[in-house]
């Protein structure tokens, strides 16, 4: 017979499972839920809770050891379910305008049709992606439950993107979500194999790096064996490769504005060559210099005009500035003796191999460079005229909604070059702040952001309207 403490825990666990279920149920029914992914996740939460309650009720209390193991597992499962419950509240934050999130969800579904997306705010000042909520469930659910039954119809990938709460209002910074989707594309493309193959080829270089490490001052290596060091370097290479590829995918998703967005978000806080060797996360991130160089090497394709769209002055200026910045970065690179240059060289080889592998493959989620060339300048001109950049003329008396990527690019272009707004504009080759009052600048930025957010929303709703008008049974007439 089980001990009294275990027996006493049973009703408490059941009560907790019922409480989590009660919290999830309104979301599962779609009450006050604007993101259908939240309703979907809440539905599964309810289903898991139901299964847990049945399991708890039927627990075998005769075998103490078995009961104790079951309770431990149930406790962890309920803890995870409670954490998932936060997604509902944080994913329905009023600053995340539901219609603006539609295209991100659309891109995710184009990457993998069996994927769902929740975007939520968090207090930490970082953009972050998590995948595989299913795995979270699978690892923690009690063995007695039939996972196949519970997860029937559950998306293969359930992505949760965390964006810093303090930036949630900033539609321009939401551009960085493209990098997080890049992580998902990396995962779906199974690019890890490339890194492993190239690492195997570079084992002698890693050995040399290990031997030289003390001389070149790579901290933290003194206590490592060669095997540990090799594993450590492999981890860094794989991680940096993933980050760089995610940047490159982000460039394909949203176009050149990702360079500006990354610069605006990252560089005010970190230097170009910041990498830390103290074991913090930044060891696993490439330096901003490496990231920008990888992007700048590939951004050119968007500006190569087929002649039909034409390039306005400001677009030419943008392209020229990006080229100049690339040259400046190359010229002022870190010294070649840096211990990380070996790692960076291996990573670069991985990136080149991956790019070669992916060349020519069709990407339904990619932003068409011809659309970029045709739409961005007219939209930019609308911004200059203070007209929302949400639609474009497509014939006599006819207009069509602009693509959301074009709006973002036009907005970043205006943000970067329209100095009359006195924003924290990007002045190539260095980021500088204007001399104007920061409060005035911030208000101007808020106003600009609201203008762009509204324009994006209009374009997205306009497109939804055109797609769904026929199925709405005359509601709009």
């Amino acid at each position: 017979m089980a001990d009294s403490v275990s027996i006493a825990a049973i009703p408490l666990l059941r009560e907790k499972a019922l409480a989590i279920r009660a919290h999830a149920e309104p979301y599962a029914k779609g009450i006050h839920v604007s993101n259908p992914s939240i309703a979907l996740l809440a539905g599964y939460q309810v289903r898991v809770c139901d299964a847990l309650v049945t399991l708890i009720t039927d627990l075998d209390t005769t075998d103490e050891e078995e009961l104790s193991a079951d309770l431990r597992r149930l406790f962890h499962c309920i803890l995870r379910l409670a954490k998932l419950s936060r997604f509902f509240v944080q994913g329905e934050s009023p600053v995340l305008q539901s219609d603006i999130l539609v295209p991100w969800d659309d891109v995710v579904k184009k990457v993998h049709p069996d994927a769902a997306l929740i975007i939520r705010t968090q207090s930490a000042y970082e953009f972050e992606a998590r995948v595989e909520i299913r795995e979270v469930f699978e690892k923690s659910l009690p063995l007695q439950l039939s996972l196949r039954d519970i997860f029937r119809g559950f998306p293969r990938y359930f992505l949760v993107f965390n964006i810093p709460a303090i930036e949630a209002w900033n539609v321009l910074h939401q551009t960085l979500l493209a990098h997080e989707i890049g992580h998902f594309i990396y995962k779906c493309q199974r690019l890890d194999d490339i890194a492993f193959a190239i690492l195997a080829k570079h084992l002698p270089d890693i050995k040399r790096l290990f031997d030289d490490a003390f001389v070149k001052g790579l901290a933290g290596v003194a206590s490592h064996t060669y095997e540990q060091f090799q594993e450590w370097v492999s981890g860094i290479v794989a991680s940096r490769f993933k980050e760089l590829m995610s940047d490159i995918f982000a460039l394909q998703i949203v176009g050149p504005c990702i360079v500006t967005a990354l610069r605006d978000f990252g560089l005010p806080g970190y230097s170009l060559d910041f990498t830390s060797d103290d074991g913090t996360m930044f060891l696993y991130y490439p330096s901003f210099r490496t990231r920008f160089l990888a992007l700048l090497k590939r951004v050119d394709v968007f500006f190569q005009s087929d002649g039909s769209g034409g390039n306005g002055n400001v677009m030419t200026q943008w392209c020229e500035d990006l080229k100049q910045w690339q040259a400046a970065l190359l010229a002022s690179g870190p010294p070649p003796t840096s211990p990380f240059s070996t790692v960076d060289n291996i990573v670069e080889e991985c990136v080149d191999a991956a790019s070669e592998k992916l060349e020519g493959s069709t990407c339904r989620w990619a932003y068409d460079r011809q659309i970029f060339q045709h739409e961005v300048l007219p939209l930019y001109n609308r911004i200059v005229e203070k007209i929302p950049p949400n639609e474009l003329r497509c014939g006599e008396h006819q207009t069509a909604p602009a693509s959301w990527q074009s709006i973002l690019n036009a907005a970043w272009l205006s943000y970067s070059y329209n100095s009359a707004w006195a924003l924290d504009v990007l002045r190539f080759p260095e980021t500088r702040q204007t001399d104007s009052d920061p409060t005035v600048r911030h208000h101007a930025l808020l106003e600009f952001n609201e203008f762009i957010a509204r324009s994006l929303e209009m374009a997205i709703v306009h497109r939804q309207f055109l797609n769904q008008k026929s199925t709405m049974d005359g509601v709009f007439d």
Binding site: P94, S98, D99, I387, T399, V461, Q468, M472, F476, D477
Partner: protein
């Protein structure tokens, strides 16, 4: 009052200053009428709360008025395809979906569509829009009927009747 042809000419004007901007005009053929332009309902609503705990709204006490607004109003966003229920005797603020930019010599009146009026929905009490106005037009919606009315963003909710300023 501007005719359909005059409205079309203003909409297609190349002159940025004198252009009539109504964007997006998702269904121009349907929305531009003989002497008016239909506008659609936006997706943000400010509902006036029934239970506020306020004794009265005193426009003279401006600071107090600003402080009390959160108790008095609730902001609601409605995703495309979802409905907003306006209950009998409820009042809310909404906006047009379209961004309107009037030339400096053109003004407008916002008029409710008769089909809504017959259902008990009153639209816009402050109906005049001055020449040169730029922005989305705020609509004051009131359900004076006896049953709730479901409002969907993008419905054709009102019409703009445009006119030229007299001294032009």
């Amino acid at each position: 009052m501007l005719s359909k042809q005059a409205i079309e000419t203003l909409l297609d004007s190349e002159d940025a200053v004198h252009r009539l901007v109504i964007t997006p005009l998702v269904d121009r053929d349907q929305q531009v009428g003989p002497a008016s332009v239909d506008v659609r309902l936006g997706n943000e609503f400010v509902l006036i709360n029934r239970q506020t705990g306020l004794v009265a709204i005193d426009p003279v006490q401006r600071t107090q008025l600003t402080e009390n607004i959160p108790r008095y109003q609730t902001r609601i966003r409605v995703a495309f395809g979802h409905g907003f229920y306006l209950h009998p005797h409820d009042f809310c603020l909404a906006t047009t979906f379209e961004y309107i930019g009037l030339p400096p010599d053109v003004g407008a009146y916002v008029i409710g569509r008769s089909s809504w009026g017959r259902l008990g929905l009153i639209i816009a009490t402050a109906t005049a829009v001055g020449p040169g106005f730029h922005g989305t037009i705020v609509l004051e919606l009131a359900n004076v009927g006896t049953v709730p009315i479901v409002l969907y963003p993008m419905m054709r909710i009102a019409q703009l009747v445009l006119h030229r300023s007299a001294d032009q």
